[in-house]
Symmetry: C2
Subunit: 305 residues, 2 copies
Amino acid sequence: MSLIVVGSVAYDGVETPYGRVDRMLGGSCTYIALSASYFTKTRIVAVVGEDFDEADRDLLCERGIDLSGLETLPGKTFYWQGVYTNDMNDRTTLRTDLNVFAEFNPKLPEHYRNEPYLLLGNIQPTLQSSVRNQMNCLRFVGGDTMNYWIRDFRQDLLETLKGWDFLLINDSEARMLSGEVNLKRAARAILDMGPSTVVIKRGEYGAILFRRDAMFMVPGYLLEEVYDPTGAGDSFAGGFVGYMAERQLDLRDPNLDFRELGRAVIYGSVMGSFCCEKFGVERFRTLTRSEIDGRFQEFKAATDF
Amino acid sequence: MSLIVVGSVAYDGVETPYGRVDRMLGGSCTYIALSASYFTKTRIVAVVGEDFDEADRDLLCERGIDLSGLETLPGKTFYWQGVYTNDMNDRTTLRTDLNVFAEFNPKLPEHYRNEPYLLLGNIQPTLQSSVRNQMNCLRFVGGDTMNYWIRDFRQDLLETLKGWDFLLINDSEARMLSGEVNLKRAARAILDMGPSTVVIKRGEYGAILFRRDAMFMVPGYLLEEVYDPTGAGDSFAGGFVGYMAERQLDLRDPNLDFRELGRAVIYGSVMGSFCCEKFGVERFRTLTRSEIDGRFQEFKAATDF
């Protein structure tokens, strides 16, 4: 039983107060898959150009990620360039070259289609739906979105959300999607759109999971140095969904143990925090499951009362 | 065994997006004492003018607060006026009339001096020290401060802090006091100044308690409506210290149960959240201990994993 992840594989140029890297492996699918791979078998669907580096492919392979769904098209890989503010709570996009990503039309390999878990990274809502429709026997499906789709593809997004079990979204996007400033009301409005579970990510301030009958809150993990927050939200998603898949959680089961969802949020936070410790995906080169479980226990000790 | 609270008793003029009140009971001592009174016998030291309203005195009396140390001087009560931004994370002071507070020279009634617990609200550091020196057998002492004292009375403040067991401070003030942007480092620097326990308050994002060997984090309680955040930090302080006094915690005891400190932080958060539900001290007119314990259990349910 494995997790299918769909999204972008990209090259990123990133500048933070700690330095600058011109071209490094990135993209939502990359971070989600690397993060989830610590918990469950992960298979990706994405597109890259002919410039995609063998070493980057190797990194994903070494984490046991199935690349059968990674298509190579003539042209260049998606490129994004951005610069973070000094407190790293905000960033400015300097450049977005969609390149081959503009033609992304995800086709799932046959052996992906009977898998039970699907995570749809931040891509156009109709593409998210088309992937979902290629899956035969899902136990859960959910994903991420962003301000651009909320603003300019609202109807498509609302249609897509109807079929999701969970939505991961940051606080400003939750406000934009719901039209509510207050996060509790925003979450309630989003639950009315379809998903039974909404996770609102608040960057360094943690995250909150909402269901109709319960709520789980986690404060942010305090790092001494945040080198690069790129990918932290996607790493959160990978940890959250990876843990749910590892534990074979069924979000539609009325007897679901709510504390398991809390643990999934904690693993999400743990993975997001590790991601920030180095530039880009660097931290995933050395990260071990035992470090991950150690930080999970740290969260336990620092929040138990 | 009771708690002595020193600070300001004031009249506040407050404007928030929910409305405006021209003159209502306020001041650090008021909020701290009202909040702490749900946990322990509380005795205050403060000064008011001849305009201080009998009804306001009654409110404090009804909560069982000892007003023997509330001095009345010729003149008017301290007046503060401010307006909050739309998201209520910031406020602008429009007017500060110190009035009789300018002559505040706290003298402790004889029967206060052998009490074990002292909380020093946000007043001039040398006054805080003078109160501390009037106490005979303290089991713990701590307090609050603000940007003004940190910037313009730094040496006095550092001298005062040396004798404290705990400091309550908000995140921007912690950064200012320590010279460190990162909160973990900021806390470590402040622990080096004297207190064994530092609580960094982050407004709607919760709070973090630091000791040399352990840390406790709590996310903010999600309210659907924040009517007026005035006094929330002081109400937090009252709940935090009130619970420690109720449980007779000894911060100097190496065998102190750290989870008890976590509970004190949770009670602080609970009291801060109730304070915001109505204008000024209004919520304290009807609030009961059973509502407080109910919200404590809500925190438990929403953070347990």
